[in-house]
């Protein structure tokens, strides 16, 4: 055996039916015990690469395959996926689809069962691994009743129960709230310290992977750069170009002084800040707050109001427990909270998809119960989280025109509105394309356009940035911002805290069906302790500014308020 757990030699792979190679000459050596993170833009080949390590490619997903992958001394092409399972565990992004047992214990037992491990040994492994991920008290629960974060922890435990030497995780935290994300990475950090396991993690979130050993940046199926984490994170611009979100702290310091090295963590940032002899000017900060106050006061016509809103699902689960809120015309607000805190349930009341079981929801000062979904759909558009839950047409044009046709709008007007909507989402000229052939972000845009075409006053977006890379997230939110500036009221639900701090003016924080916090974004994000109760954490940069006593939502904002020299 060699000193490498994984050796990849000039690997090329092309999915069946595709023209372009998803992997185009990857060579990589991963030593035993390393924690390697794979990053890159959407469709760069990250997931494809991770599927090559346990043999899903080429055995499960057939296609053109060249080069070789040697895992623990064995050529992947000469074995098969089930046989590799004892050595290579894999955790997928979709935590719903990868769990199939009816209770937590049996989920963990499934892997070892397949390898004919004795019952006593399986019992031991269940106990050990559930404790390892912190689910020991959930032994007899059904996996479906767990929260997203717990499901993903269970998926990890069920893979660890096979005692793999390599653990591959393909975007394990994409759908999770910030603290659940942290929970998953706390587990990877524990695993990192063990030298009997090699970790390979595909991830978008940079803040969480600071503890990794190396980062491999993938671009167009090739390794663009590979190196120690600290070196890679210095290169703010390169990361942005690759569609990877740079860390907030180095990004900020690069703007003040473009000479590396930049601090990476919050602590390093504070130290450097003091060393640079910088401070925040009190007068400039107050000016900024006053300006903000004034612009927020411009919105005072309520469009959506909830009065003591309660909602109980038919199965008896009480999802909303007395919500009072007001959203004004022209505002851009975010609804945040941990998985299953009631965000989506709340938003579905705004367009009449759900009717309150207690209290009242008013849109335009009229109860949603009186208006009905068909009429409300005209005023309040709702873009669902997963575009694949609504796209069904063969042409982008038909998809976008669907809502208009249902409303009996004349043909010429439909043409006009469809092209307007496509311009707004940056897809003009795509009318004759097949929506299914577009990327996730493209399909997301088609879904937004299909709602925009109806020309609603209010646009609700449920997790518009989930599953997109950093550049796609930015351009999606920039587009939403333009819609807001054109007068639309925007309500979005998200787990991405930086999206909230940089784009939302007002924030509602939900916890267990109740409003934990509400107010303008700055005030909400200054209360780190309370946010943590709802499994939320501000981005590094905001935490950094909070540590310095002021809350800044973006580096640019802070730079405007900085002064050099001593305070006296």
């Amino acid at each position: 055996m060699t000193e490498y757990a994984v050796i990849i030699n000039d690997l090329k792979y092309c999915y069946r039916g595709e023209k372009e190679f998803a992997l185009d000459g990857i060579s990589l050596k991963i030593p035993y015990g390393e924690f390697l993170v794979i990053m890159g833009a959407s469709e760069a080949g990250k997931s494809t690469l991770s599927a090559c390590i346990n043999g899903l490619i080429p055995h499960y997903m057939k296609g053109k395959y060249k080069g070789e992958v040697i895992v623990l001394g064995q050529n992947i092409q000469e074995t098969n996926v089930p046989a590799m399972a004892e050595n290579v565990g894999i955790v997928f992004q979709d935590f719903e689809a990868q769990l199939f047992s009816t209770n937590v214990e049996l989920e963990v037992a499934f892997g070892p069962e397949n390898f004919a491990i004795s019952r006593e040994e399986i019992k031991k492994r269940i106990d050990e691994n559930l404790e390892y991920v912190g689910l020991e008290s959930f032994c007899n629960r059904s996996p479906f009743t767990l929260s997203g974060g717990q499901k993903q922890k269970l998926a990890i435990a069920s893979v660890l129960a096979m005692c793999p030497k390599i653990l591959v995780m393909d975007e394990p935290t994409t759908d999770l709230d910030p603290i659940s994300k942290k929970g998953i990475f706390d587990i990877t950090n524990k695993l990192r310290l063990r030298d009997d396991i090699t970790l390979i993690v595909v991830e978008h979130e940079t803040e969480e992977v600071l503890n990794a050993d190396r980062i491999a940046l993938i671009k167009d199926g090739k390794i663009f750069k590979i190196g120690p984490v600290r070196d890679i994170f210095q290169e703010v611009e390169m990361l942005e170009d690759l569609g990877v979100m740079p860390l907030g702290i180095p990004k900020f310091f690069k703007k003040i002084d473009p000479k590396p090295p930049f601090p990476l963590t919050i602590e390093e940032g504070i130290e450097k800040f003091k060393n640079l002899n910088l401070y925040v000017s009190e007068t400039k900060y107050q000016d900024m707050l006053e300006q903000e106050e004034a612009s927020n006061h411009a919105f005072d016509t309520p469009i959506i109001q909830c009065e003591n809103l309660e909602y109980t699902y038919p199965n008896g689960v009480k999802a909303l427990k007395g919500i009072n809120l007001k959203i004004n015309q022209g505002e851009m607000v975010a609804i945040i909270g941990q998985n299953a805190s009631g965000k989506t349930t709340l938003a579905k009341h705004f367009n009449g998809l759900l009717e309150p079981t207690g209290g009242n929801v008013l849109v335009d000062n009229k109860s949603t119960k009186e208006q009905g979904i068909f009429k409300l759909g005209q005023k309040v558009g709702y873009v669902f989280q997963n575009p694949d839950h609504q796209i069904f047409s063969e042409l982008v044009y038909d998809e976008v025109a669907f809502g208009l046709k249902l409303r009996g709008i004349p043909k010429e007007q439909i043409d006009e509105r469809v092209s307007e909507a496509l311009v707004a989402v940056g897809l003009s000229g795509f009318e004759k394309e097949d929506p299914f052939s577009l990327t996730k972000s493209g399909r997301q845009r088609v879904a937004v356009a299909s709602i925009l075409a109806i020309q609603p006053d209010v646009l609700i977006l449920d997790e518009p940035t989930t599953g997109l890379d950093y550049q796609e997230q930015r351009s999606m939110m920039d587009m939403v911002k333009r819609l807001n500036e054109a007068g639309g009221t925007i309500i979005f639900i998200t787990h991405h805290m930086w999206v909230v701090t940089e784009y939302a003016k007002k924030v509602f924080v939900l916890k267990d069906g109740q409003l934990l916090l509400q107010g303008n974004t700055r005030d909400v994000f200054s209360q780190e302790k309370t946010l943590e109760e709802s499994f939320l954490r501000p981005p590094h940069f905001v935490q950094f500014s909070n540590c310095l006593g002021k809350t800044f939502l973006s580096p640019d904002e802070m730079i405007l308020c900085l002064e050099n020299g001593s305070k006296s």
């Binding site: 599927a51 899903l56 055995h59 499960y60 996926v81 089930p82 046989a83 399972a85 004892e86 565990g89 894999i90 997928f92 979709d94 719903e96 689809a97 990868q98 769990l99 199939f100 047992s101 009816t102 209770n103 214990e105 049996l106 037992a109 499934f110 070892p112 069962e113 397949n114 390898f115 004919a116 491990i117 004795s118 019952r119 399986i122 019992k123 059904s142 479906f144 069920s158 893979v159 096979m162 199965n315 579905k348 367009n351 998809l353 979904i373 068909f374 759909g377 005209q378 669902f384 997963n386 694949d388 839950h389 609504q390 069904f392 669907f402 809502g403 249902l406 409303r407 299909s450 709602i451």
Partner: protein, 259 residues
């Protein structure tokens, strides 16, 4: 996400999966033998007793619409395939009506029986039970997996229909043809997301070593208890008596002719 399995600890839940699968089969035999609804009453009262013991009324309530549709179409439809001497009105004869009631009861109470089985038996127990009764592991696993898919698909139908209703799709109004057309925007996304889900499911399955070895451990340990044997013996005697009565010519409807 809603599951059909009800996590209670009733006497029915505690029975061995083998016993419950056998009860299910015996229920079917006891009902299919007779044409006359009167002869179904003993077995139906036993099925109702099982349902009461297992506390599965929640799940029965969930499928109330399906049951209503089945009862209405059943009582109507079987008349087309049978006729008798005593004409009542339209397609209905006294004999064919009795026969329709009997067949409809068969279908409805087999569904009851199935709901009892699924609501009281974990998927894994069901697989184990089927294997202990002699089915190959892959077959047992396939059956239980398709059962697992039902709530997943129901869930995605719910989400997709909400998404399309938000865009103005009105599923309630229109003629039958129009209504069927309206389901296209629902079916395609449901179909696609189900394929995606099963694809991930398949990958997860293989990645956990499904079928890696010829032998496999079952973590669940299932033991037949006295009560299991008692119930199976009772069931077998009950069905034997039913078969005896059937051979003796009981349970037919005089004057009924089936097509």
């Amino acid at each position: 996400m809603t599951e059909l399995y009800l996590d209670y600890n009733t006497i029915m839940h505690r029975l061995d999966a083998r016993t419950k699968i056998l009860i299910f089969i015996l229920n079917f035999i006891a009902m299919v033998l007779f044409d006359h609804p009167l002869y179904l009453l003993p077995i139906i009262s036993l099925i109702l007793l099982q349902a009461a013991l297992a506390k599965v009324w929640v799940n029965i309530w969930r499928i109330r619409f399906l049951l209503t549709v089945l009862i209405i179409t059943g009582i109507f439809m079987w008349n087309i395939f049978a006729s008798g001497a005593t004409h009542l009105f339209w397609i209905f004869d006294l004999e064919s009506l009795l026969y329709s009631i009997c067949r409809t009861m068969l279908i409805v109470f087999m569904i009851f029986s199935g709901v009892i089985l699924i609501s009281t038996t974990r998927n894994e127990e069901l697989v184990l039970g089927m294997i202990q009764l002699g089915l190959p592991y892959r077959v047992g696993f396939t059956i239980s997996t398709s059962l697992r898919l039902v709530p997943t698909i129901a869930n995605s139908i719910y989400t997709v229909s909400q998404a399309q209703r938000s865009r103005g799709l009105d599923l309630e109004s229109g003629s039958i043809i129009e209504k069927i057309k309206k389901y296209i925007p629902l079916l395609i996304p449901v179909f696609i997301s189900t394929i995606r889900n099963t694809n991930v499911f398949g990958m997860a399955l293989e990645s956990k070593g499904f079928g890696a070895k010829k032998d496999r451990t079952f973590y669940l340990n299932s033991v037949m208890k006295k009560l299991d044997y008692f119930i199976i013996i009772f069931g077998v005697i009950f069905v034997a008596v039913s078969i005896f009565l059937d051979i003796q010519g009981y349970g037919i409807i005089p004057g009924l002719s089936k097509f």
